[in-house]
Subunit: 131 residues, 3 copies
């Protein structure tokens, strides 16, 4: 079962917790035991699992990525968003999360985190649930 | 269904678009709806999804990775290819892409990108299609 | 089939080869052909595939990550372990490995590597095998 989640980002870079939306897709699928695939169909956004509690963790990840891949530097791509492309590949664009008893098997502090690196934009997240 | 795609790289580092080859494996599998797993069985190469249009994006990713993990530095591994090992782990070695209507569900600008970090070499990419 | 592997780490940061444990789970599952999902339910640890032979490769990866994301810097998270969160997202928390003839299809030098970035701790690794 494939579900597309729409995400509207409001900043140039942002980490957004989308766990609730993905969990809803799992619930609606009725799958009790299986695998949940999360996929980002963009090249300047990514997806990762990280802390869902203290928002400072998201801030620290963004600041560190900005230090490693700064807005200006040795970039040739004419659109000017090369840092977003690099960061997307560093975070990755697909995740696989186990499903047990109809729920995502996530650690206590784990949240599914959509990574916007070239917003604000309308984005999609594809959730593919396999029984 | 498991297919092995052979890749011959011609430079020390290079990002190669292999979308066409993977799409062919999906078509040949006859799977209409499912999941495509892409796997790199090497430790100095990786795989990522990124822009398939302007080749400058590939160039910018390689230049940035080279700045972050330069050819010479505090490396102990005697073979001298530690930067390639680090870059491989930063990019990752497996991808999962949804299949719908017999085709990969990729974003408009997304290409499956094989990452050579210690070439030139003969490489393999393993494609595993699950219905 | 879901198996949980317990891992006890003994250092603050460490890369541990867990291939033998994951291979055992594959063997016990009796699955001949399929996919092995490896999942880390933590936000300060990750999982990657890299060299299983020379331990210097593990050392070089840890030293490089420490240089890129040093222990002290512009971090706001009060727990003081922001570098571990960033490194976890750089390495990733899920892997997908093909299974053929009842065995993991790994390259000659590939080992499944658990990445501890905020130890020592008791950790879990979730292995989900799909036929």
């Amino acid at each position: 079962m494939i579900t597309t989640i729409r995400i509207s980002t409001s900043a140039h870079t942002a980490l957004l917790d989308v766990t609730t939306q993905v969990e809803r897709a799992v619930r609606l699928s009725g799958v009790a035991s299986g695998v949940c695939h999360v996929f980002v169909p963009h090249t300047t956004a990514g997806v990762t699992l990280n802390e869902n509690a203290d928002p400072d963790v998201k801030r620290d990840i963004l600041v560190t990525l900005d230090r490693l891949v700064p807005p200006h530097g040795d970039y040739a791509h004419a659109e000017g968003n090369s840092p977003a492309h690099v960061k997307a590949s560093l975070m990755g664009s697909s995740l696989v999360i186990p499903i047990e008893d109809g729920r995502l098997v996530l650690g206590t502090w784990q949240g599914i985190t959509f990574c916007e690196f070239d917003g604000p934009r309308q984005r999609s997240l594809i959730v593919n649930i396999v029984s």
